[in-house]
């Protein structure tokens, strides 16, 4: 805690006791920047996957579709029978048969706008919206089988569940990537700090001789590496956010790729990345400095 306070307070004179390390410093800044850039994408991936999983989970979870596959002359009667069953089924908030116009719109991408729906054996679709209690799909299937032989209930689970699982895994993958990036930053900073401490053994020896405490010596290195990681990560984060901003945008519903980005308050989350990098650099350099100073004692 004392180290952190001293770090934030800063000491221009103390900073000068450690010689500038030139190329090593530039590499540290660059590596922190590159990692932060990747972390922005990992975060975006994770958040976009989360949104997708939520949408598939929430918006489609409470809807189902009934297809009435029947000869043309029976289709209307079976549709009405199915709707009557749905009216008396618990857990259903609303149910309605799609109009010809709506069905035509649904098929338009494949058959064009001039489809003569009434002359084709196209199943009639009934959109079912569940209430908060939810329905019993198995019971409904039994009732439909008994009274409407052409009705097929599709509660979307068959295709929705694997998608939700995939999106959840993708979100997890994003977080794992962030953890790995954090660990890589810690390893990189530890290596750089160890190299700097080893290269400055004589400086440490001089400082000890003239009465510098180990905390003072450690802080000089900690401050240097923490600021390098902070500045590099800040630059990498800004570039990453700019890249996200320039990503092609899709519709509001969006496909996964065109929806890969930040929305609303999520734009604030990447700003935590430089702070995380600085925190990791602080801890890594502190551990390396304490260990090296103990070895040199």
């Amino acid at each position: 805690m004392g180290s952190l306070r001293a770090l934030l307070a800063g000491d221009r004179n103390a900073d000068r006791v450690v010689p500038p390390s030139g190329f090593t410093a530039q590499l540290t800044v660059f590596a922190a920047g590159a990692m932060a850039f990747l972390a922005v994408f990992a975060l975006a991936l994770s958040l976009a996957s989360g949104r997708l999983a939520d949408r598939w989970g929430d918006e489609l979870a409470r809807s189902a579709t009934i297809r009435i596959v029947a000869p043309l002359d029976q289709r209307s009667a079976q549709t009405d029978a199915a709707l009557r069953i749905l009216e008396t089924t618990r857990g259903i908030a609303s149910a309605r048969a799609l109009s010809d116009e709506e069905q035509r719109d649904l098929l338009a991408p494949w058959f064009g706008n001039d489809l003569a729906l009434e002359s084709l054996p196209v199943p009639r679709l009934i959109e079912v919206i569940e209430d908060t209690d939810g329905m019993d799909p198995a019971g409904l299937r039994l009732r439909l089988a008994a009274e409407v032989p052409g009705a097929v209930l599709d509660d979307h689970n068959r295709w929705r569940q694997p998608l939700i699982e995939a999106a959840t895994r993708l979100r997890l993958l994003g977080w794992v990537s962030i953890v790995l990036i954090t660990a890589a930053v810690a390893a990189m900073i530890t290596l750089a700090a160890n190299a700097a401490l080893a290269a400055n053994a004589q400086v440490i020896s001089v400082l000890r001789l003239i009465g510098a405490t180990d905390d003072y010596i450690a802080l000089a290195f900690i401050r240097r590496f923490t600021l390098r990681a902070l500045s590099g990560a800040a630059a990498g984060t800004v570039l990453g956010m700019l890249a996200m901003l320039l990503m092609p945008r899709g519709s509001d519903m969006g496909g996964f790729l065109t929806g890969l980005g930040f929305q609303g308050s999520h734009w604030l989350l990447p700003l935590l990345i430089p702070l995380l990098a600085a925190g990791v650099a602080f801890a890594a350099t502190r551990a390396a400095a304490k260990r090296t100073l103990k070895e040199l004692a």
Binding site: N13, A14, R16, V17, P19, P20, Q202, V203, S205, V206, L207, R208, L209, I210, G211, A212, T213, D214, Y216, A297
Partner: protein, 263 residues
């Protein structure tokens, strides 16, 4: 003239040192060591390294304001003894007391506080090569939390005292052997230490420069500092005779053999 410069600089530095001494005294107070008359004391000290005993049964007391030479052949253990005297090494047997406190009971912060009361000059003096001479000399102020700029005049007078005013902005690698030793001496005394330990301070300089360094050390002693110089240069010891009463301690066969012999 030189004495005047040194006096001013070291007097002001003495005032700045008060806070550190107070902290150290507080620590010592806890151990009941107030009122010590001996600044550095070695009692039956032995030191072994790599299976061999380098020093054996060494007893030594340095009183405030005393002047000592530590002499003996190369490899006799002079540098080891000096390091024991400022806590850089711990004895393998016996007791080393610095300002009344046994070094074995001191933690790293205590040792650091002690080192601020002991100015050390080595033969192979090390500097921070990326800082200029002024910054290197002011380094003890920097690491103790005081900024060298605040002690600007004192620093200037100290630079003048050691004759390095015109080399203030030079980097350490640009200095001659004598200049390095004088800079090291200035750095050693900027905190106005109670004791100055000089390990072969004239080893790398010519006769004139060695006499100049010796005069500086004698001046420090006349200001009340305890001085211990390790040297194998007997002519340096003889040259001191006219200016100050010094005791010569000779190390041979791992022991101090001529302790107490006056010049």
């Amino acid at each position: 003239m030189i004495n005047s410069h040194a006096g001013k600089a070291l007097t002001v530095a003495m005032a700045a040192k008060c806070c550190i001494e107070s902290a150290t005294m507080l620590r010592h107070n806890r151990r009941g060591d107030i009122g010590v008359k001996i600044v550095i004391e070695l009692e039956n000290v032995a030191y072994s390294y790599g299976g061999g005993e380098l020093l054996s049964d060494i007893s030594l007391k340095l009183a405030p304001g005393s002047f000592h030479f530590l002499t003996g052949p190369s490899g006799a253990g002079k540098t080891t003894l000096m390091k024991l005297c400022y806590g850089a090494l711990l004895p393998t047997a016996g007791h080393v007391r610095l300002f009344g406190a046994d070094v074995r009971g001191l933690d790293r912060d205590d040792i650091t506080a002690v080192r601020r009361r002991v100015g050390v000059v080595h033969q192979d003096v090390k500097f921070l090569d990326h800082l200029n001479v002024t910054d290197n000399i002011g380094l003890p102020l920097t690491v103790s939390g005081r900024h060298a700029e605040a002690a600007g005049n004192d620093l200037d007078e100290l630079m003048s005292w050691v004759g390095l005013t015109n080399r203030a902005d030079a980097l350490p690698p640009e200095l001659s052997g004598g200049e390095r030793q004088r800079a090291a001496l200035a750095r050693a005394v900027i905190m106005s230490p109670d004791v100055v330990l000089a390990d072969e301070p004239t080893g790398n300089v010519d006769w004139d420069m060695s006499q100049r360094l010796l005069r500086l050390l004698i001046e420090l002693n006349k200001m009340g500092k305890t001085v211990l110089i390790a040297t194998h240069d007997l002519s340096l010891i003889r040259a001191t005779k006219a200016h100050v009463q010094a005791r010569v301690l000779r190390i041979a066969n791992r022991r101090i053999q001529l302790a107490g012999a006056d010049l």
